[in-house]
């Protein structure tokens, strides 16, 4: 849901994995005869390698660059969440609707619906549009069809309230809370 670039994440994992495997095999070839024999036909691993004094600073700078890039990537991950559900601009004025309103509408509409344990709403900025994620926790043994109907009615009310239809993701979950919740009424 967040802005994180998933393709790049996969590429990073893949490259780091390959590097780890290569280094591991190189070290392994030095100590394990079996690995050495297996690798021998393809590459010859040098028995010793000189580290020239001139390359020490290059290594140090390369390490610094890697550290900075890695930390930047780690600390800028996620993002894209916002508290503004709708922003309407007309000239210099802007009207914004907070996510709390959406939350209240959804909570109110889903209150008392059988099999619904709770709901969470958050808004994300996706491709310069605002999209709401509505997570509805469904009781264990509950009926998703009935819950989905109730969510549809809630969305109708929400669309009327906001005056437009915001892109939404409805996620029916069975969280830990819903697993513990007891049946309030029996379907018969």
């Amino acid at each position: 849901m967040t802005k994180s670039n998933r393709t790049l994440n996969r590429i990073i994992l893949f490259v780091l994995g390959l590097v780890a495997i290569v280094v591991g095999i190189t070290i392994g070839a030095g100590v394990l005869p079996a690995v050495r024999d297996a690798v021998d036909p393809y590459v010859s691993i040098p028995r010793s390698l000189d580290v020239p004094a001139a390359s020490l600073w290059i290594v140090a700078v390369a390490c610094a660059v890697v550290i900075v890039l890695a930390l930047v990537w780690v600390f800028t991950r996620g993002g894209g969440g916002t508290s503004v559900a709708v922003r309407e601009r007309s000239g210099d004025d802007a009207v914004t609707i907070n996510v709390a309103l959406v939350r209240d509408v959804v909570d109110h509409e889903l209150k008392g619906v059988r099999d619904v344990v709770g709901s969470k709403v958050d808004v994300f900025q996706v491709r310069r549009q605002r999209a709401a994620r509505i997570r509805v926790a469904v009781r264990r043994g509950g009926d998703a069809v009935a819950v989905l109907d109730a969510v549809d009615r809630a969305l109708e009310v929400l669309d009327r309230t906001l005056g437009r239809s915001v892109p939404v993701l409805v996620h029916l979950t069975g969280g830990t809370r819903s697993a513990l919740a007891k049946a309030t009424t029996r379907v018969s």
């Binding site: 998933r6 780091l16 010793s48 890695a70 009781r139 509950g142 989905l148 996620h171």
Partner: protein
Amino acid sequence: MSSSSVGGNAVERRIRRRSVHRSRSTAVSVALVVLVLVAAWIGTESVLRAVGAAPLLADPQTVVDTALRPDAAFVTIAEVIAVVLVVLGVVLVVLALKRGRQHRSPVPHDRGAVVIDTRIIAATAANAAGSAAGVPEGNTSASSRGNRTDVRVVPVSGVPVDEAAVRAAVTERLSQLDERFGRRVKVTLAERGTLS
């Protein structure tokens, strides 16, 4: 079934796809933090060597020598490090290449993108089976995997349960979510019933 065939506008398709597939953010962060620590150590040792100060653990030349051709004391350590690195590398590559589906299914819907946890789909099947068989809720259980759903019903003693009717009810209910869930439903009746 891929999520793109379920419909919806571009933004909703995107958030549904990103909900069904796992983000690898945590794995990447952990791997990068380890990388930072290793790089910090190598960088520090290089600088210490360059300015001629005493190394923290070992200077770069010693490290390279030991890694390529360890002396007797370091053989075991080198073996362990080699194995750990290879295993770690394989894990990372597998994480990078696997599809990373979570236990959720996209469901076609008129308004909004809808994603339902697999256990909720199973719960819905158990719910439908329970009302069709007329048994208490605790007497039915179900498990879903992909598009197939297995339902188990424990009848109440003395009250016969019509397996076909139960299957029809489950199929009917699941088809309201999506037609594909109703295609492969298996109903198992327990041999022994329970007292109600």
